[in-house]
Symmetry: C2
Subunit: 205 residues, 2 copies
Amino acid sequence: VAGADEEITSFSREMPWQVLGQWRNSFIIAGSAEELIIIDQHVAHERVLYEEYLNQLAAGDVPRQKLLVPINVELTPAQMLLLEKIEGRFEDNGFEIEPFGPRSVVVKAVPAVASRCEADQLLFEILERIENAPDDYSVEEVHRRTAAGLSCRAAVKMNTPLTQAKMEHLVNMLLATEEPTTCPHGRPVVLKLGIRELEKSFKRI
Amino acid sequence: VAGADEEITSFSREMPWQVLGQWRNSFIIAGSAEELIIIDQHVAHERVLYEEYLNQLAAGDVPRQKLLVPINVELTPAQMLLLEKIEGRFEDNGFEIEPFGPRSVVVKAVPAVASRCEADQLLFEILERIENAPDDYSVEEVHRRTAAGLSCRAAVKMNTPLTQAKMEHLVNMLLATEEPTTCPHGRPVVLKLGIRELEKSFKRI
């Protein structure tokens, strides 16, 4: 049936959604009165963290998580250069990074939303995304790319069992985002099946 | 995505299926390692009861349920005539029906699989289906139509909440039928979404 499982650009946020369960430890199945939706848990969480972090940056108040043990991260010359270039745009973003010799830095704190990530992998991911930016590293672009790298690393992975409470929390957080239907990289977050399409498929109407 | 929600003609019965939940008190959502399926609970139960009853007929052993209070059913002249015509084909099918005057019968027992149905409605449904039979009322045709009418009446309705245990039982019974994918009237029982199609829709592959 055409349209039955198409990517959607909007769905009803106001309706009460009921989480039915998790499939393959990767997809959350939820239903409202009119729609059955399948949520990709990783990209859904990415979208939530992405907007949360960008809102914190906009408000100039990014909670940070001090590392118990500061981590020494070796960088390539290109990465060192990039970090210097964007220094002014990489402030107050929750990271606390200090130079440590010519080829390494010490990470002393990371944004709280990414507190469970490996600090070195997090930094690599973000630098790689900024490196590939098409423009002259505007503050906005650096912020968006930092948010994208950070949310990708921090979001719950596929193949992760979630409790009913966690799934409900994630769905509610997703519904509260500005753009719940696509992830920061433009991938669909939600597939839906409307009751009319379903009834047609079942030859009920 | 083409094929993502197409009617299916086969699905993997051997796999362990996990019932995720019920949507709109009408559809059961279940998943295996490879497929997510949506089951129309009414037609699924119809299929189960239909085959169960036909198997009982074929074995010549149809359990019957005596009614606590026999029910007097008024029939039209056409229905009376039909009942006489098919008398020989309507024996040993679980019903115990006796004439009661020129325009009514007394129902004393019904097939056990339909024990919760209203006996008069059940009889009307079956007679209507037999009446519309295209052929000369062969035994097989009368049996199939009796089974179809009976399973339609006896099957769990839409908008009926089911416990997890009942849903699992229904899915297991459905998987054990000869033709789990279509109901006796040819309507689809199951819609499926394969993991490959889903991953494509989510742009994961």
